[in-house]
């Protein structure tokens, strides 16, 4: 069982690599090196702040775009192209296929983030000529970004299990945007009354709370991140992704592959 999931994940990763998904790293490298050179010339004292902010935001956005645009096709493309027929006619259970696809995409994003992280640290070194202890906090921000990707991958997969790629992209991207304002939504729910309070509270807790994962600005200002938040975000991401994946499995287990 575990080996089948690993083989499906490995094939998903290989497909992403061969479909030149990792070419985004070139765009990322160009953006970051250009920005580092530019801010080195125009900013005084705040070069580091700008590079960390810009670098981590770019890591997050590039990853989200990849997660959504690969994730939405993971199942629907396989059904459309009928590549799934020869996989599911083997001793592969449907849930193993979904979980394998999820790990393949998540793995692709982890590798992508790893190379981008090297780029961020290289740009940082370029503008400040040295590393300090507080720079290690960037790793926490990167970890939170990866947790975000895990949630987005699971959501993209969930939508892909029942919807067309276009609609899945719309759903996943909308949830990403709304999720970044989840705290505001929760505050609004606290102020609302009656039915709208129930509705807003339900929506606020249903959408992924990405605002809790965004520590880029505080880390750029070298403010430490509470250990409790790291634990909380880890558990939240694992729980949310598990729920979304369970939903994807439940739908896919009962779906006719016409």
């Amino acid at each position: 069982m575990r080996t089948r999931i690993a083989h499906i994940a490995s094939n998903t990763f290989r497909e992403a690599v061969r479909d030149r998904v990792l070419y985004n790293l070139i765009a990322f490298a160009l953006l970051l090196s250009g920005a580092a050179i530019l801010v080195g010339q125009i900013s005084i004292e705040i070069e580091k702040l700008v590079v960390i902010n810009l670098g981590l935001t770019a890591v997050s956005l590039f990853g989200v775009v990849i997660a959504i645009f690969i994730g939405i096709g993971l199942v629907s493309k396989e059904i459309e192209k009928r590549t799934l027929y020869t996989v599911l006619s083997r001793p592969v259970r449907r849930w193993e296929f979904i979980v394998g696809k999820f790990f393949g995409l998540a793995g692709t994003l982890v590798v992508n983030t790893f190379f981008m992280a090297i780029g961020v640290f290289a740009a940082l070194f370029y503008v400040s000529h040295k590393f300090v202890r507080a720079d290690a906090l960037i790793l926490v921000a990167l970890y939170f970004i990866v947790l975000e990707f895990v949630i987005i991958c699971s959501l993209a997969l969930l939508f892909s299990s029942f919807s067309s790629p276009l609609l899945s992209a719309v759903f996943a991207f909308s949830l990403f945007v709304i999720g970044n304002f989840a705290e505001d939504l929760r505050n609004f729910a606290g102020m609302a009354h009656g039915f709208s309070r129930w509705l807003a509270t339900g929506a606020a807790y249903l959408v992924p709370n990405f605002s809790a994962f965004n520590v880029i600005t505080s880390i750029a200002h070298e403010q430490p991140v509470a250990r409790q938040l790291i634990l909380q975000n880890t558990l939240y991401a694992l729980f949310y992704a598990s729920m979304a994946l369970s939903g994807a499995v439940l739908i896919f287990e009962n779906r006719d592959l016409k």
Binding site: N11, D19, Y85, V87, S89, D256, K258
Partner: protein, 313 residues
């Protein structure tokens, strides 16, 4: 123990987005395929052949009914390790090479790593893709993809093979090779269940066939039995380029091909025909009873089905 027992499998799809309307793709189907036979599943396009195969592969779920494959429930995942499936017009991960694809499918089928390498090489050789094993599948022609499809179906040495239109997209040589392969699989004791609308292939290969039309089974039996119904006519062949008047008088249906003449006459005129040929000093080559071809049987079955449907309407 039968290789396949289909026990009233049926499938109705729901079409439409808001107002769902049912479309019956397969009427309750009862069919048994014996171990070690080549079984042809015949029918025109849209007859329900692919739906039946998808049901057996667990790709779509039945509205009712069940099946047993190799003695086990067809939904049992362990059964799938013993079956191979070639879908109609197969499409594979085009980022992989033929070698990588077979390696991947070998992993999914649980072929041990030590055997896998050897088996992949052997299958690539068998389906004639050894020279292009390192080329990505996106560069493959339709016929080459069909060969890959056959390769992945036989890779894990399954006991039972399901082929959906296996000759589709193949050139005459390729078709011949697939026919040879299927015969070889039979000799190895494997059961082959294949759907086709190419009747000559079915007639050449199959021990038994079933005919399906509009989701309903119209006939099933051994090819010999279905084609042995003599029409009460004989074919007489002799050397010659002319048709003598005395033979024409027997109202025979005659055709001249090269230096041979073929005539179809009623069985009761066979002796008169031979006498006439002797009188005309023609050299007789053969007299054979005219049998119903599988095609004729198939067309007749479909025609009857259409007539019955017309009466019902």
């Amino acid at each position: 123990m039968p290789a396949i027992e289909i026990l009233g499998l049926e499938k109705t799809y729901s079409l439409g987005f808001w107002r769902k309307r049912p479309k019956r793709a397969l009427q309750p189907l009862h069919l048994t395929v014996e171990d070690g036979e080549i079984f042809g599943f015949l029918g025109p396009n849209g007859a329900g052949k692919t739906t039946t195969l998808k049901l057996l592969m667990g790709l779509v779920f039945p509205t009712a009914g069940s099946a047993r494959i190799l003695g086990s429930e067809w939904t049992d995942p362990s059964v799938k390790a013993q079956i191979g499936f070639l879908p109609e017009q197969p499409y594979f991960y085009d980022h992989l090479t033929a070698h990588e694809l077979l390696e991947y499918y070998g992993q999914l089928s649980g072929v041990p790593a030590k055997q896998r390498k050897h088996r992949v090489e052997q299958v690539l050789q068998q389906v004639g893709l050894r020279d292009v094993q390192s080329v990505q599948l996106r560069k493959f022609s339709k016929g080459m993809l069909q060969r890959v499809g056959i390769g992945q179906a036989i890779l894990h040495d399954p006991k039972l093979l399901f082929f959906d239109e296996p000759m589709s997209g193949l050139d005459p040589m390729g078709r011949r090779e697939v026919r040879d392969l299927m015969e070889q699989l039979k000799q190895e004791g494997k059961t082959v269940f294949f759907s086709t609308h190419i009747l000559s292939d079915a007639e050449t290969l199959c021990d038994r066939v079933a005919i399906i039309h509009k989701g309903e089974l119209r006939g099933v039996g051994a090819v010999e039995d279905l084609t042995s119904s003599v029409q009460g006519k004989v074919e007489v062949v002799w050397h010659g380029t002319q048709i003598p008047a005395s033979i024409k008088a027997l109202s025979a249906e005659c055709h001249v091909t090269g230096d041979r003449v073929r005539a179809i006459v009623n069985e009761n005129q066979q002796d008169a025909m031979i006498d006439a040929l002797r009188r005309e000093r023609q050299r007789l080559i053969a007299i054979t009873p005219v049998r119903t071809s599988l095609e004729a049987y198939f067309v007749e079955k479909l025609r009857r089905a259409e007539t019955t449907a017309g009466r019902t309407v």
